[in-house]
């Protein structure tokens, strides 16, 4: 079996056959960026076998881990640790390890570890590969504080050992890597403190793939939603997304007029509908929220075209958000919390963007934006927005790998 040195092995923590949430989309775009730059890619993914992931279908190199085997990490039982437990799970399966080693073969230019969870697997592979293969660690967030916030949100106490384990894992991944990718300058600064002497941190922010909605889908959604302007919030069911929405809008959606509403797409919609915040003023929220749930990409694209405003109610978590990139690129009014703009600081002056603190002020700003005329974009604004495409944001990653190869 001939092994091309222009090969990259990408280890991902989700399937990429039908990417839906932000992490999946970034992983998909990373794979695409390597391929577009002439690398061949072996994509190996190990993830919790949840309905969400299995619905999207699995590829030949996907290793779904049964959920009941992911409830504990090194003797510590807790919720929300399936991703953490996946790394140990895959390396404890000799059959799967053998298969992955066969896929990787005898050589490659780099192993790209996206998120720290599969670090045990990356280590196993590196041990059996010739030296000089680059390890690229793609950090989407500083994960330990994010996980801590989720534990806090669900009032799960006594998780300190797990938080420490996650912190260790991230530090080790950064220390082992030749190239560390950060999505924000804040994350980059933090990761720079963890890398090895010859390692480097590269800022490769989140981006968007330009969308185009079909006329049919647009007409279908226009018929369903009517002509009233609406704000769009599209996000996964990741707990901080629900928390962010609730905290950003304050006690209720009373700041929106009776003919104004927010269309909520993605997994966050289902969780929002079940949240006590929604139920407290149920009739009011039912009139002002259109909870659509997870949608096909064509439908989501149609909603992006029809939306009058994009709302970015982020109040916790690290990294930067794909939804921020999408909103900024949309050419619509954008109402964002300061935290939602993390990683996109260079776009703070963008026409139509309003950055507002969470609470009533945020809710009122959304209401006001829905009364404004649609944005008219000039050439400058369009060129600024084009900097948000994945090909622009991931270019530093390709450049860094090429430089690493050149030095080798």
């Amino acid at each position: 079996m001939s092994q091309s040195p222009r090969r990259v092995v990408v280890l991902g923590s989700y399937p990429v056959k039908q990417p839906r949430h932000g992490g999946q989309l970034r992983l998909t775009e990373i794979i695409a960026a390597y391929r577009e730059s002439g690398y061949s890619v072996v994509s190996v993914n190990c993830f919790p076998a949840s309905a969400f992931y299995l619905q999207g279908g699995c590829g030949g190199n996907d290793f779904p881990a049964p959920l009941h085997e992911l409830g504990q990490y090194r003797g510590f039982r807790a919720p929300f640790i399936e991703d953490l437990a996946c790394g140990d799970w895959i390396v404890s399966r000799p059959g799967y390890l053998r298969r992955i080693r066969e896929l990787v073969g005898g050589g490659c230019a780099a192993i790209h570890l996206e998120q720290p969870w599969l670090l045990p697997l990356a280590r196993e592979l590196l041990q059996h590969l010739p030296s000089g293969i680059a390890l690229i660690y793609g950090s989407q967030n500083i994960e330990s504080p994010l996980k801590e916030a989720i534990f806090d949100q669900y009032k799960f106490s006594g998780a300190e050992p797990l938080i420490r384990s996650i912190d260790d894992l991230e530090r080790q991944a950064a220390a082992l890597a030749d190239i560390v990718l950060a999505v924000t300058s804040q994350d980059a600064a933090k990761l720079a403190g963890w890398i090895k002497p010859k390692g480097r941190v590269v800022l490769a922010g989140n981006g968007i793939r330009p969308w185009q909605a079909s006329a049919q889908a647009i007409e279908r959604w226009r018929a369903r939603l009517g002509d009233r302007p609406f704000g769009l919030y599209a996000a996964s069911g990741h707990p901080p997304n629900v928390k962010g929405f609730v905290e950003s809008f304050g006690p209720s959606l009373a700041a929106l007029a009776p003919d104004q509403r927010i269309v909520v797409a993605g997994g966050v919609a289902d969780q929002l509908g079940q949240h006590p915040w929604f139920g407290r003023w149920g009739p009011l929220h039912a009139r002002r929220l259109e909870l659509l749930g997870v949608l096909a990409q064509t439908d989501l694209d149609a909603l992006r075209v029809l939306a009058h405003s994009f709302v970015l109610p982020t109040t916790s978590g690290g990294g930067s958000h794909l939804k921020t990139a999408e909103a900024l690129y949309s050419g619509r009014h954008v109402i964002a919390t300061p935290l939602a703009m993390r990683g996109f600081e260079s776009f703070l002056q963008l026409t139509g963007l309003q950055v507002v603190s969470p609470g009533l002020e945020f809710a009122r700003a959304v209401g006001q934006s829905l009364r404004k005329k649609p944005l008219e974009l000039g050439d400058r604004s369009c060129s600024e927005r084009n900097q948000l495409t994945w090909s622009s944001t991931l270019a530093p990653m390709i450049k860094a790998l090429a430089e690493h190869e050149a030095c080798r």
Binding site: P251, A254, A255, D259, W281, G282
Partner: protein
């Protein structure tokens, strides 16, 4: 283009029971309008159809007839569930072949028996107004199919003050307002369901949504007290809603039956209860009204050997009081001392106010306190709760006690019933000093708010326009 004031009479046209406070406000405003506008086209009446989400114009004559029917009945219920079933059954027989009529009659009788069986239980649960009743009432003057949709214009004003949280879809009003550009005047009676959700039957989420929509829809919200105005604004502020212009309208104090209703029938239950001295508490019987405090006070006074007067509760039994009503029925210590009168006509109520020793009002929270001012209008001193708007209603002529402080109530009631001179002197002061508010004055003020929003006020203003009675304070 001449402005039209569109008055929503959905509540009046559908209400078949004695008037409660909200119903009375709409009723008396409409009564006043009809006395002013019989020759003028600038005031029109509408009813709201919740299924079609549309307003339909009803003639002034239909509204007048409805008022007349209410007056003849003294406001008491004119139809029962059984009557309504009979009415429909009779209409239904037209479609049944003669050969099947005997069987149909048997089935009908079975249904009537079933209605009788469940009536007692349903009474506790029955909402004061249901849409089917509205349809029945409107069908007296023709079905909705015969009514023309209301044609709102840009210069018009829409005013509504009925049971809007139940009968009106405010987002529909908002959209119509956006489309046509007319102005809207609405009423806020209280914010109690959101302040004390445990004390009311109304679902607080639904009522809160109503208050928020009220803020968005209305150009002007009339509140029935400063206390209610504060509660309304504070709630909207807390929710982040839109706060419109607000004002305070003082409600009338005089029962409309004073001059119109015939002398109460001698055999009425109200008079039969008055075979011994009595004190009166006029209010729907529900937890918020704190009837239980008076029950306990009466038990305590009996235990202390005090010769208590009869305590008459006048009001419709509401939600969450079935155990309390059972206590009243079963507690032998106060057997015959406490009487509940339901379905009391305006005339009977007038008589009860006239003949009581004094009145009581221990409510835990109010939007205004209409029975307090009605009591004063009848020259009767009221021992009141300190809560919310009640001191606003009663002013310096009432005495106020903490509604949670049973010993103080026992003490004050005992003192009053054992000192008839003090009661007489307090009643005399009330008769001397209380300046009642006529409903006509309230109606005039309401209309003044509405017409102030018209680009060109309707021309039918009568000589009352020059009248300047206190009662409205606009920001």
């Amino acid at each position: 283009m001449t402005a039209i004031v569109w008055v929503n009479v959905t509540t009046l046209m559908s209400w078949v029971r004695p008037a409660v406070g909200v119903v009375r406000v709409e009723q008396e405003y409409v009564r006043w309008l009809l006395s002013q506008t019989h020759t003028e086209p600038t005031v029109k009446f509408v009813v709201f159809h919740p299924k079609k989400k549309a307003f339909y114009e009803v003639s002034a004559q239909s509204v007048q007839e409805k008022l007349a029917r209410r007056d003849v009945g003294g406001g008491a219920a004119t139809t029962t569930a059984e009557d309504r079933f009979k009415y429909f059954a009779k209409r239904l027989t037209r479609f049944i072949p003669p050969a099947f009529l005997p069987k149909a009659r048997d089935a009908g009788l079975m249904v009537i028996r079933t209605i009788r069986f469940f009536r007692g239980r349903l009474r506790q649960l029955r909402r004061p107004i249901v849409w089917s009743q509205a349809r029945i009432e409107c069908s007296i003057d023709g079905s909705f199919a015969d009514l023309a949709p209301a044609g709102f214009g840009q210069s018009d004003v829409f005013i509504s003050m009925g049971l809007d949280w139940d009968q009106l879809d405010l987002p529909v009003v908002y959209r119509a307002k956006q489309r046509h550009g007319f102005r809207v005047v609405l009423m806020c009676y209280d914010a109690i369901p959101v302040l004390f959700p445990h004390l009311v039957v109304a679902e607080s989420g639904r009522f809160g949504a109503h208050l928020v929509e009220l803020g968005w829809c209305a150009d002007h919200v009339m509140c029935i007290s400063q206390s209610t105005r504060r509660d309304f604004a504070a709630f909207l502020e807390q929710m982040g809603g839109h706060i419109p212009m607000t004002s305070v309208i003082r409600l009338g104090d005089q029962l409309p039956g004073d001059s119109r209703v015939q002398q109460t029938a001698a055999d009425s239950e109200a008079l039969r209860c008055a075979d011994r001295p009595f004190v009166l508490y006029v209010s729907t019987i529900e937890r918020r009204k704190n009837h239980e405090l008076l029950y306990r006070a009466w038990v305590r006074m009996r235990d202390h050997g005090i010769d208590v007067p009869r305590l008459i509760f006048v009001g419709m039994p509401g939600w969450g009081v079935s155990d309390f009503l059972a206590d009243l029925r079963l507690d032998h210590r106060i057997a015959g001392d406490i009487v509940v009168l339901n379905q009391v006509s305006d005339g009977e109520l007038h008589w009860l106010y006239e003949h009581c020793l004094f009145t009581l009002y221990p409510s835990l929270y109010e939007g205004w306190g209409l029975p307090v001012t009605e009591s004063l209008a009848h020259g009767k001193f009221c021992l009141c709760s300190t809560a919310a708007s009640i001191p606003e209603a009663g002013g310096s002529l009432c005495e106020y006690l903490d509604p949670w402080d049973l010993p103080t109530w026992v003490d004050r009631i005992s003192t009053l019933i054992q000192n008839p001179h003090e009661v007489a002197s307090r009643n005399a002061r009330v008769r001397q000093e209380f300046a009642p508010q006529k409903w006509a004055d309230t109606a005039f003020r309401i209309h003044e708010v509405a017409t102030a929003l018209c680009p060109k006020p309707p021309s039918f203003h009568s000589s009352q326009q020059s009248m300047r009675t206190p009662g409205i304070h606009c920001d």
